[in-house]
Amino acid sequence: MAPETTKSTYWQGVRAGAPFILVLVPFAVLFGVVATEAGFTLIETFAYSALVVAGAAQFTAVQLLSEHAPTLIIVATSLAVNLRMAMYSASLTPHLGRAPLGKRALVAYLMVDQAYASAILEYEKHPEWSIPQKLAFYFGAVSPLFPLWLIFTIVGALVGHAIPPEFALDFAVPITFLAMIAPMLRTGAHVAAALVSIAVSLALAFVPYSLGLLVAGAAGMIVGAQVELMMEKRGAQA
């Protein structure tokens, strides 16, 4: 594959990832604030962002640490929040499974919702892309995000106490995720999957340790797959 093409998918990735800066920055700042208020030192806060690289799971861990939950429960619960990453990993495998092991490890380390969502959307649109082109797109998408994630975690830890609650930073996470989901709702099967997952997640909100999230995700995937099958059958009959 011509080097220009790999370079161009890298820049397409950068353009796909860049909009998320707007939401990742408040998210990173918020984590810095929350961790500092829970009693984390600057180094501890930074280490969480650098080694765990998972906003929602980090928030869960800090929350449970400040409630003095047992360590094993904290790790298990926070990982449950992150279990969707295993599903992302599986869904990227048909596209990136033949990449060199080191590159696959790097893809895994840098896997965040935004990078996954941008990448899978583009891979489905461009099945003709080579593996280097696909990798270039992925690393392009995380390039503007990962460094800023680290930097703004520190900013949050340093200036955190000065941000007033009127800024409603809490809602940065839901807005980002909703903005990512809506354009993905391309077919009736996607819509059905999303609606079922919302219903199950709300119905199981009382279940401890975020286990309801896992049930809801699985239910949504099953419904999506079944609706897709039904639509295929109907299409074949018509």
């Binding site: 869904s91 495998t93 809801a216």
Partner: protein, 110 residues
């Protein structure tokens, strides 16, 4: 609230760091180039649209910032974000619409 043992922080960090990487690497690393059966792929196509809404729904319905009480500005902002995302298919437009709606509604109703 503030007295978290440093040891606990680091034990959780290491457990979470290793576990988190493991979850992300499990399929990419272990399955490699072996093809996966069509029924698996069919389910995986719906991962994002199933897991992300499940993650967000409780945050929208019962925002922690309001102590878990449903909140009109946040509900309206969530609705506008989805509508803008569906209409424009553009993530950035959806985010900006949602955020500006949130601030406007917090100003008007908050």
């Amino acid at each position: 609230m503030r007295e978290i043992a440093t040891l606990d922080i680091w034990i959780v960090l290491i457990g979470l760091g290793v576990g988190s990487f493991g979850l992300r690497f499990v399929f990419l690393g272990l399955i490699g180039e072996r093809p996966m059966p069509p029924w698996v792929l069919r389910h995986l196509r719906y991962t994002a649209v199933a897991v992300l809404p499940a993650l967000v729904a409780p945050m929208v319905a019962w925002p922690p910032a309001t102590g878990g009480t449903p909140d009109a500005p946040r509900l309206i902002a969530a609705f506008v974000t989805i509508a803008a995302g569906l209409a424009t298919r553009n993530v950035l437009v959806a985010i900006l619409s949602g955020a500006s709606t949130l601030y406007l509604m917090l100003y008007l109703l908050g």
